[in-house]
């Protein structure tokens, strides 16, 4: 909560879009965890963050950033 912000929902809904369930299955977490990440209630581990970035074909810093940097 708080220090890390993300663009997961924005990137997921781009183009043809991807459901939360699809992203969850791709990354290996539950749909509820994806919901928590998108709403800022949970900051994922480095491994999960990298998997999410790879799913979007983006560098990890394009998906996650420190709140102070915005």
């Amino acid at each position: 909560m708080g220090a890390i912000i993300n663009r997961v929902r924005e990137l997921r809904q781009r183009g043809e879009g991807m459901t939360q369930q699809q992203l969850a299955e791709t990354v290996g977490v539950s749909r509820q965890t994806i919901i928590a990440i998108e709403s800022g209630r949970y900051s994922p581990s480095l491994e999960v963050a990298l998997k999410i970035a790879r799913a979007f074909e983006q560098p990890v810093e394009a998906v996650f950033s420190l709140a102070e940097a915005e």
Partner: protein
Amino acid sequence: MSSMSFQEKSAWGTLTALLGVGGLYTSSLVNLWRADQLHIPSTFGLMVGFTILLVLVLVGYHILVAAITGAQDEDERDRLIGWRAGSIGGFVLAFGVITIVGHIVVGGLLQGGIWQSPAVIANLLLLAVFIATVVELAVTIWFHRRGI
């Protein structure tokens, strides 16, 4: 689809069952005390009976939830919440046990009557476990709802 993970549903169900069965147990205990029957044999019978009741309720609940929504493996967020809630529950349990030890020692020094009876001490220890478990479950639900 539900916004609650299987682990959160498990916590809600376990907390509800614990409070319900705990309330019935306490009520039975009070009745025993009023009838001046609060001793180890009756307390032991009560503990065994309510433990079996609690296990049956929890097994039934979890089977129902798994059948309706499907069981899920824990992911990293579930594990993190479990560890932190467990740690907090552990502190509460330690505090409770140390308090009861102090109660036993002070009671022994002052020769404190019924409050030193084995049945009362056994139930105080059970109360400490109960409170610690309730706190752990409540914190688990809090972390799932509000974030961690």
